[in-house]
């Protein structure tokens, strides 16, 4: 697959085969091992780095890992366990998701920095209860190739058995994702306020300059 960064592709509705990732506290070192951090996300084989050491042996042969198996290999929605993306702030952990076309991760909780990194790259992190995530993962294990459909506008998703789940998302994050907005563009509109603040702040806290 071509490595590409959808970046600011708006997120409205999305449906895909979903992949159960049964790893609690799946840290960003598992999502992309540290030794790949100097690689460029424009490298053609960047998609292979996702879960690299969980997927490949030292000789490059494949391990028995869910994301290596059809039809999961085509899955672009992950259902994970608690504390997905904890650890390092490496945004590469989102770049390897987008390099594989992954647009959403559903989990009971997320590492805070990784969560923000997802939002900035058009990947929707969805928080559902541990019970609901466990149910979804079980259904996906039992029915390989089953799909999940997400509607960000109505903040709902439909599981493999057509059960609907509502989810919360921060209003600002939702606005950015729905419209594919980039933060620098948004912030530029506040230029006058930033300049005013900076002047007043320098007077208030001259020591901090």
């Amino acid at each position: 697959m071509m490595a590409s960064k959808p970046g600011l592709t708006p997120f409205t509705t999305f449906a895909s085969v979903a992949v159960p990732i049964d790893i609690a506290n799946c840290d960003t070192d598992q999502i992309i091992p540290g030794r790949f951090l100097r690689r460029s996300s424009t490298d053609l084989d960047y998609d292979r780095i996702l879960f690299h050491d969980l997927r490949f042996n030292a000789d490059g042969s494949e391990k028995d890992f869910v994301y290596n198996r059809a039809p999961y290999r085509e899955g672009r929605i992950f259902v994970a366990d608690i504390n997905w993306g904890c650890g390092s702030s490496r945004e590469h952990a989102v770049s390897v998701l987008t390099a594989n076309g992954v647009r959403s991760v559903i989990a009971p909780s997320f590492g805070d920095i990784h969560y923000n990194n997802c939002i900035k790259n058009g990947v929707l992190p969805i928080q559902l209860s541990s019970e609901h995530c466990a149910t979804l993962r079980r259904q996906l294990r039992e029915s390989p190739g089953a799909e999940i459909a997400i509607d960000l506008d109505t903040q709902s998703l439909t599981g493999p058995d057509q059960t609907s789940y509502a989810f919360e998302v921060d209003a600002f994050d939702k606005h950015r994702l729905l419209n594919g907005l980039d933060d620098i563009g948004l912030t530029m509109a506040f230029e006058d306020k930033i300049a005013d603040f900076t002047g007043a702040y320098a007077k208030r806290h001259g020591w901090a300059g």
Partner: protein, 467 residues
């Protein structure tokens, strides 16, 4: 209702607040390291500039070989390009840069406080999760991703949701042989690796008051391992004494102004926290991790836990997988675990106090495992050498290296072989963190030195005597 320390600093930096609670914050200090060098090329390609280069500080640390003294010493290749790339960016954009040849060079989270770049009351960011370290000085410091780094470069601001607040009070005083590392490992054991997610954690109480600045930095450093991006400790006399006369700290009248302001940076008596946790600091023992999450940690006097006694099937399966990866048997004494390598260093534990604690144990003994001692900065190295600590390590058969992140993230050639087991003062025991197939036990510098001289995990209190 009163305000927390965190809210006071936060409010002082809000440029604009949206109705949904997201705020545009002004950023006082931005630290950067070699792994972000590509971003500056992106800026150039977009025709963007760095808004306040005087507030940006670059230090190459992740890709720095600990056998090299200058960039020219690094063999041609990825590491050298990365380190040279940051230097080039500093030249192009005019920000502060501490090159490898500069004695002020080191790990970004050691250099910031050491140079007085980090100060109470500030907002400070860096594209590295262990930026939480700096909160020990009483500032809002947090790790960000590279898109956010770019945003700060261009605007000197950042959009942030207001975090919830948690106060962790550590009562009593730490016992003999117990340090900041043991405190934070005990905190993570108590609240879990996701216990602090969504929170800013303020540490308070007599055990924190009694702790050195170095110890406080260790506590705040691993706050991210409890899930929280922010750790913060109210500035006190120790903090102010620590900051005084540092090169980038305010001087003269500005110093007096700063000091007066910092004195007010405490949580008000009637401030409300979203969560309150209390731990008996006096009951904390030297800790060591046994699994692949920092929450899987026990006092060194304990035994490897038995998954069969765990009732939650998911947790049981995770424990079994961790024991399998770590090649440990349920019920074995932690002190029976033999180690192949010992690493003393990383932004968690590479400051002068850490070097002293390790040297006190190493003195007159011989290492039974390969041991790397990597000071956190050139200035820590110089101070340690002035105190003769380098000789103690070298006489014990340990390697005394140049500063850098080294074996914490294993991006500089310092790494473990597959299956190798380390006692490490770093912050993460994740699978493969110190090299593919590596096995990591996290512990304090004194405990690491104890493991080095005995060849196994050892209660340091059995090797040293109380003063």
């Amino acid at each position: 209702m009163g305000k927390t320390l965190f809210q006071k600093i936060w409010d002082e930096h809000v440029i604009h607040e949206r109705e949904d609670g997201n705020a545009l914050l002004y950023i006082d200090r931005h630290l950067t390291h070699d792994l972000h060098h590509r971003l500056f090329k992106v800026l150039q390609s977009k025709g963007l500039t760095v808004r306040e280069p005087g507030k940006l500080f670059g230090v190459p640390d992740h890709s720095v070989p600990t056998t090299a003294k200058t960039v020219e010493d690094i063999p041609e290749g990825e590491m050298r390009e990365t380190v040279a790339g940051l230097q080039q960016a500093a030249d192009d954009f005019g920000f502060h840069h501490f090159s490898m040849a500069d004695e002020r060079h080191g790990i970004v989270h050691v250099v910031g406080p050491e140079q007085g770049i980090t100060l109470p009351g500030l907002t400070l960011v860096c594209g590295d999760s262990h930026t939480s370290t700096h909160g020990a000085l009483g500032c809002i410091a947090f790790g960000i991703g590279s898109t956010e780094v770019e945003h700060v470069l261009v605007t000197q601001t950042l959009w942030q949701r207001t975090p919830k607040t948690m106060r962790i009070t550590l009562t009593g005083q730490l016992g003999f042989g117990v340090s900041g590392k043991d405190v934070i490992l005990a905190v993570i054991k108590k609240i879990g690796a996701a216990g602090g997610t969504g929170y800013a954690i303020e540490y308070a109480g007599s055990a924190i008051d009694g702790m050195s600045m170095e110890g406080r930095m260790t506590v705040c450093n691993m706050t991210i391992e409890a899930g929280a991006r922010f750790g913060i400790i109210a500035p006190d006399d120790k903090t102010i004494a620590y900051c005084a006369d540092r090169p980038f700290a305010p001087q003269g009248e500005k110093w007096d102004e700063a000091k007066a302001y910092w004195r007010g940076l405490t949580s008000d008596a009637d401030a409300r926290f979203d969560a309150e946790i209390t731990l008996d600091g006096g009951a904390i023992a030297p800790m060591v991790t046994w699994g692949n999450s920092p929450q899987w940690v026990l006092p060194v006097t304990d035994r490897v836990p038995d998954p069969s006694s765990e009732t939650d099937p998911q947790v049981r399966a995770d424990m079994e997988a961790a024991l399998d990866y770590m090649d440990l048997k349920p019920g074995m004494a932690l002190s029976d675990i033999k180690v192949d390598t010992v690493f003393i260093g990383a932004c968690t534990n590479s400051r002068i106090e850490d070097m002293r604690a390790a040297a006190a144990v190493a003195k007159g003994r011989t290492a039974k495992a390969r041991t790397l001692v990597v000071p956190g900065s050139g200035l820590v190295k110089k101070q340690a050498e002035a105190e003769g600590l380098d000789k103690i390590f070298i006489e014990a058969g340990m390697e005394w290296r140049e500063p850098g992140c080294s074996m914490c993230i294993a991006l500089n050639g310092d790494m473990l072989a597959p299956g190798e087991r380390a006692a490490s003062t770093s912050n993460r025991n994740f699978r493969g963190r110190q090299g593919p197939g590596s096995r990591t036990h996290l512990l304090s510098p004194a405990m690491a030195a104890a493991a080095a001289v005995t060849g196994r995990l050892t209660d340091v209190r059995t090797l040293i005597e109380e003063d």
